[in-house]
């Protein structure tokens, strides 16, 4: 039995990136497996409904295609979030131009949880989901990144293309809005 440090057992992003640069295809798979679901959640929080997987895939393809420009000033995940946000913005602009813009304030998720209704817990969850969905896309994405990913305001600002102060304000406004919605 060989001794292995924890970092060898679970390589960090930098190690996986180095392996991929060295020609190890499995490193790309590991990075996708590690970040894809987080990225999907972020994309959905920004209002995307129909093409989440396509955006996530494009973000990964673009990230790996331009990995040389990744300087490591932010985490790999934050960099992915930034790429996904830019892709989504481009897609939304294209939709507007094509007059196919989908209202990002729809209530698809609320209606999809109808099956859960009937129990108190489900009703509580539905109210919370409804409260989250009532947020603006910016509030929702920042709130989600803060509570699910534990990102700092600085990292969030990089990911959403805003400032640290603005991210903090959006978070607190989101929290207040959620409280008000739940108390209705």
């Amino acid at each position: 039995m060989t001794d292995q440090s924890p970092s060898e057992l679970v390589p960090d992003d930098a190690a996986l990136i180095a392996r991929w640069r060295g020609g190890d295809e499995r490193a790309a798979t590991a990075l996708v497996e590690r970040h894809a679901q987080h990225l999907a959640r972020f994309v959905a929080s920004l209002g995307e409904r129909d093409e989440v997987e396509e955006v996530v895939q494009d973000a990964f393809v673009r990230a790996f295609g331009s990995l040389d420009s990744f300087r490591g000033e932010s985490s790999f995940r934050t960099w992915l979030l930034t790429i996904a946000r830019n892709l989504l913005r481009d897609r939304q602009r294209s939709r507007k131009r094509a007059r196919l813009h989908v209202d990002i304030q729809d209530n698809d998720i609320v209606s999809s949880s109808d099956a859960l209704e009937g129990t108190v817990a489900a009703e509580t969850e539905a109210r919370m989901r409804n409260a989250v969905e009532s947020l603006t896309p910016m509030q929702r994405s920042i709130f989600t990144l803060r509570v699910t990913e534990g990102l700092s305001y600085k990292e969030i600002a990089i990911a959403v293309g805003s400032t640290e102060g603005a991210a903090r304000v959006h978070y607190h406004n989101a929290m207040r809005a959620i409280r008000e919605k739940i108390d209705e």
Binding site: R21, G23, E25, A27, A44, E53, V56, L67, V147, M175
Partner: protein, 228 residues
């Protein structure tokens, strides 16, 4: 409900919920929450909201990974890294060759004039038409250096004859601007060898530049503008 007065601790509640706090800080925040009613209520809300926020669209990770491997194979990254240093080396080699060529032209021009042309004072060269006035007792006040008067081309000389220096014609040289300072370390043999090699270069100009030009200065500008 009493309002929280510790904004720093309250700010860390999301990190506590998401499990991104270190052990020491986690204990500190939990101790604060135990005493702060507002933070306790907010923490409970965040804990209830987190599953809702975590519930997102499920993507096919395997399909995405396959697409990435197909569109951006790792071998391409490795090849790019192997090719890049060669490209950089070529660029450096081209830049060095250009620099050498520029230096060769400068040396050739300077060395051709070295043994034949007397150095001329840097003082402004008088124009031919002003010669009489310069020699007169009412010379300009700025004429302070007792430099030998430069030999001037006759007024009737065509412009080409002014530019092309005869073998022994004393013309103004770049030595006057300190160009030849860096040649002082060369031995006579070195200079002869260099001259012989430069004579074979066809790109060396046959004529000196016109006296009112400063090709070396312009060259410096080009080099600096080129970013080295």
């Amino acid at each position: 409900m009493s309002e929280c007065t510790n904004g720093e601790m309250r700010d860390l509640l999301p990190e506590l919920v998401s499990g991104h706090l270190g052990a020491e800080m986690r204990l500190a925040v939990e101790a604060h929450v135990a005493e702060c009613e507002e933070c306790a209520e907010e923490l409970a809300l965040l804990r209830a909201l987190r599953p809702v926020l975590m519930h997102g669209p499920v993507v096919d990770v395997a399909r995405i990974a396959a697409a990435v491997r197909a569109q951006v194979p790792a071998s391409r990254a490795r090849e790019a890294r192997e090719v890049r240093p060669r490209a950089t080396t070529w660029r450096l080699a081209i830049a060095a060759a250009a620099l050498l060529a520029v230096s060769a032209v400068g040396y050739a021009v300077a060395i051709r004039n070295r043994g034949t042309a007397p150095e001329v004072a840097v003082a402004p060269a008088p124009r031919a038409g002003a010669r009489d006035s310069l020699d007169s007792a009412a010379a300009p006040a700025h004429r302070t250096a007792p430099a030998p008067a430069p030999r001037l081309a006759p007024e009737a000389t065509p412009p080409r004859e002014v530019a092309v220096a005869p073998a022994h014609a004393p013309v103004q040289t770049y030595a006057s601007a300190g160009v030849l300072d860096n040649l002082s370390g060369l031995s006579d043999d070195d200079v002869r060898a260099l001259t012989a090699s430069l004579d074979g270069i066809s790109s060396v100009p046959d004529a000196d530049p016109a006296p009112d030009l400063d090709p070396l200065g312009a060259m410096d500008d080009d080099l600096s503008a080129g970013g080295g």
